[in-house]
Assembly symmetry: C2
Homo-oligomer: 263 residues x 2
């Protein structure tokens, strides 16, 4: 049985909105917030623990099977008014289904990473839509795991979750305080560490053979990779360019490198 | 010598802002508006006729060479205050350099398209950032021309221009009222027309040989290609998928198909 929430000032509502808007609050609480029938169901099917479920009467009509499934797993359920749904909605037309979820701890030790793994590493990616799109693409082409430097935006940012189409729930993602050190360890394990640079003197990705594990390291949208990260990698890799555009944008470059690693 | 504009209500300023915001006004005037030193210089170097140039005193200090070059080609130049620059700016931190430009007519007849061409066609792409990113990627990997269906967003939308990094100025882009008819003509010319579909029964792109010209046709972000457009193409092509994600997003799918066409 769902409780009824009627006030926009209810602490549960404020809690949800703060989880959407503040990365710091998400970290403190160990929780994140999601919106939309599809994304909530994705979380459930991926084994993400659902803490609270919120839904409107209208949503029950449209998404009854999904809400029933979510309600069985959610620790608490609340029925909310359309007004509250609007306040909780991060999108223009909220579907009236919202969850708070527990962050998954994915403390896989580096040594547990198979030496035949295909990995995407991202350094200081700032735009949540870019980060989400890269994770979505990584999952689609068959990348096994992702690594984010500490300077990347939060993977639980609502725009990352949305752009990733739930890939955040399924792909193991590590956050690394010291990315160069991690890359050096991966190199020692026999994994080919590749710094993506828009530089004609780097190795064309089409000339590489991926018979061992490999990690493609993608840098910030405007500034590329840091010097330390480039130096920590075994090779510098580039995408042979034909047009006058200086380089591909970060997510397109990531897309081509991941595709080549798994082609 | 630049005229001095001091009022935000000046008709020149209003004209510029309307060119930024209204696709209909752009069509009526045969003009579009751009912002930023880099993009204005890209337009100039690509042979786009510059109608009006606007710049702040601050911008003259930072971008003197660019402004001098632009001023030599612009029909009219205006020096503007910082307040006017803020009103004209579409971005958070305008650089204080703005141009209005004449739309290029690119009326290349279909029969002039080489039968070895590599082409990107887009149907009903709605998001200007997606359209711009696809054009940028197309130019970078070496696609020779692009086709937009009438349902695509305007290529002179400021977000398309920005995301394309000037590729709009350099890549011949045709707008087609009847995309299926155009594709049928291209097929008759011996060009391999490929409808991109997220469908396991379609041909994997990795199984195709691109020894003739080819066109990759990408559909709307949410709905994919229309039935008419799929039927007008010679083959249905797909990207072999490994993860649980239903499909790549439109611009990532376009990226991989274009890359494979030119690999």
């Amino acid at each position: 049985m769902a409780f009824q929430l009627d006030s926009r000032e209810n602490p549960k509502v404020k809690h949800f909105v703060k989880l959407l808007s503040s990365g710091k609050y998400r970290q403190e609480q160990g929780l994140f917030a999601i919106e939309g029938a599809r994304l909530c169901m994705d979380a459930l099917q991926s084994g993400i623990p659902i803490a609270e479920l919120f839904y409107t009467q209208e949503a029950v009509k449209k998404y009854s099977a999904i809400i029933t499934a979510l309600e069985q797993k959610a620790s608490k359920s609340y029925q909310i008014s359309d007004g509250i749904a609007k306040k909780m909605g991060d999108t223009a037309h909220p579907q009236g289904v919202f969850c708070t979820c527990k962050m998954l701890d994915k403390p896989d030790d580096l040594v547990t990473i198979g030496t035949d793994s295909r990995i995407l590493a991202m350094e200081n990616i700032q735009d949540p839509a870019n980060l989400g799109a890269m994770l979505r693409t990584a999952e689609a082409v068959g990348i096994g795991r992702a690594i984010c430097s500490a300077g990347c935006c939060d993977i639980y940012h609502p725009k990352v979750l949305r752009a990733s189409m739930g890939a955040v729930f399924r792909l193991p993602v590590r956050r690394e305080e010291n990315l160069p050190e991690t890359l050096e360890k991966l190199t020692q394990m026999g994994i080919l560490t590749m710094a993506a640079v828009p530089d004609a003197s780097a190795k064309p990705v089409t000339s590489l053979h991926f018979d061992t594990g490999a990690v493609a390291v993608i840098g910030n949208e405007g500034n590329g990779l840091t010097k330390e990260t480039i130096e920590a990698c075994k090779v510098q890799v580039t995408i042979p360019m034909k047009g006058r555009a200086e380089s591909l944008n970060a997510s397109m470059a990531a897309c081509i490198l991941m595709w080549e690693m798994l082609r």
